[in-house]
């Protein structure tokens, strides 16, 4: 299920006095099984970008090709495309509507025309995948906690068995434990089912420890598309885009400025710890 964007422009409210270019000349592709992070300030165009990937928005110029299908081609079945590319919106719990958790999660597969017997299986599987106990199936989704509701909403997209899973800020507003639970489930899904995951996030810490590839978007244009290690080496320019680096990297940067022999980037705390311990020992030997 590779996705390819070529020379994509998108203009909101074209021709009106409110015209605004949200994306400019985007060239980007996603390969099977990748775990990609997208970061950018609010209003940078990242939400517009992800809605291009399942045909919810169509480019004003340029093409988006999903699994060989061009979304702007005549007669293209967008509905089937949306089943292959699952999109979980920000604050996804606000889309829940059914009387029971099971019925809500079943909504996607029902629209797909999946046979009833298989739907039940998929619902169970999806709930387990997001770490929810099957006992809650018959409960109303509106009685659950915020974090649980969020996970039901994610399960609703997973039940469609998408080959690509896009998550727009899946942890916004959750407390640290709620955040860690969701992120570790997503990582497992990627590892076990091999689905492509595209994670839009405001948290540098989260993308640093999760993704293999990081796309940085600013003013509707892609400014970096590389590994997190490469991207976070550009701390000062990331700051001008209203972004930052993981704090572990920030500490190393400050130490380096004071003459310590540490690498520029650390993606995890453990990595930073090892680098600092090594540099510390080196300094003691020299002294």
């Amino acid at each position: 299920m590779p996705i390819k964007l070529e020379q994509v422009d998108f203009v909101y409210a074209g021709g009106s006095p409110f015209e605004r270019a949200a994306l400019k000349g985007i060239n980007l592709s996603f390969l099977d099984g990748e775990f990609v992070g997208i970061i950018g300030q609010t209003g940078s165009g990242k939400s517009t970008l992800v809605q291009m990937l399942n045909g919810l928005l169509k480019p004003t110029r340029g093409t988006v090709t999903v699994n060989g299908l061009v979304t702007t081609a005549k007669g293209v079945k967008l509905k089937s495309l949306r089943q292959e590319v699952g999109l979980v919106f920000q604050f996804a719990e606000y889309q829940l509507f059914a009387e029971t958790v099971a019925a809500d999660v079943a909504f996607g597969p029902e629209n797909q025309g999946v046979p009833a017997s298989e739907i039940a299986e998929r619902v169970d599987q999806a709930l387990l995948n997001v770490g929810l106990p099957l006992e809650i199936k018959e409960r109303s989704p509106f009685e659950l906690s915020g974090g649980q509701m969020r996970r039901v909403a994610i399960a609703g997209v997973l039940a469609m068995n998408p080959k690509v899973l896009i998550l727009d800020e899946p942890t916004a507003g959750l407390d640290p434990r709620g955040r860690d639970e969701i992120l570790s489930r997503i990582r497992e899904l990627h590892r076990q089912r091999g689905i492509t995951v595209i994670l839009v996030s405001h948290s540098m810490e989260d993308v640093a420890r999760l993704v293999d590839r990081l796309v940085v978007i600013h003013g509707g244009q892609i400014v970096y598309d590389a590994t997190p290690r490469e991207v976070f080496a550009h701390g000062s320019s990331l700051k001008t885009y209203g972004l930052g680096v993981p704090q572990a990297t920030e500490v190393l940067g400050l130490l380096k400025a004071k003459g310590w022999a540490v690498p520029e980037v650390a993606l995890t705390l453990d990595e930073a710890r090892q680098a600092i311990v090594r540099a510390y020992q080196l300094r003691r030997e020299l002294a």
Binding site: R82, Y94, A98, G108, F142
Partner: protein, 270 residues
Amino acid sequence: MSMMQQITLGQYLPGKSVVHRLDPRTKLLMAFGFIMVLFIITAGWVEYGILGLAALLIIYTAKLPLGMVLRGLRPILIILSLTIVLHIFSTRTGTLLFRLWFLEVYSGGVNQGFLLAARLVLLVLSTSVLTLTTSPIALTDAIEFVLKPFKRIGLPAHELAMMMTIALRFIPTLIEEAERIMKAQLARGADFESGGLIKRAKSLLPLLVPLFISAFRRADELAMAMEARCYRGGDGRTKFKVLRYTKLDFYAWTCFVAVSALAFYVSYAL
């Protein structure tokens, strides 16, 4: 956000013209007075001509694009044509103009039909000019003021105005939210467009249920936030924006009285 920015609420067209600067109470009461005059005077082309000329003059002074004002007539096009057609075929005064199979058309019918249509057009024009030149907030303040005397008979003037303000405040928010939920359900394979009436109505549930739940949650939280800011109804409340009549309003009323007097004179004395 995309769709929202294109919607101008209450079709208010901001501007700095004399008409815009009038006190909203003046404009509200004048629009009302204009409609009263319209219905009291006898229907006639000279009378309506005077009022129509006055309306055009106001539109010109307010620097409103005529096309936009006329577009406001679009929703009543059907009523307009019905009024004209019904009168043409049912009024049998004046001379017989022509006969179409069993239908007879008299000059009186044509005259009557178009006069009534003109009255409707003038009525809609006066309200359009009001909403186009008065911001929704100013209009709300004016309505609250005008309704105040009826408080004694139990009309909750302040509460009505507050409800209008809150509605105006939340319409864009809710439209934005509806758009977002719709997209989320589309992403789950929802289909809002195909199928028969019942199927389509049913397919709206995944949109409407979350929207209602969110609207209730918002109402709840807003009520709490308002109470936390010491809101306890209209009693003892002061105003940040106090409405004030100016010389402009005096001139406007003078013109209004003059035009009305002229219309009445033409209507009854001549």
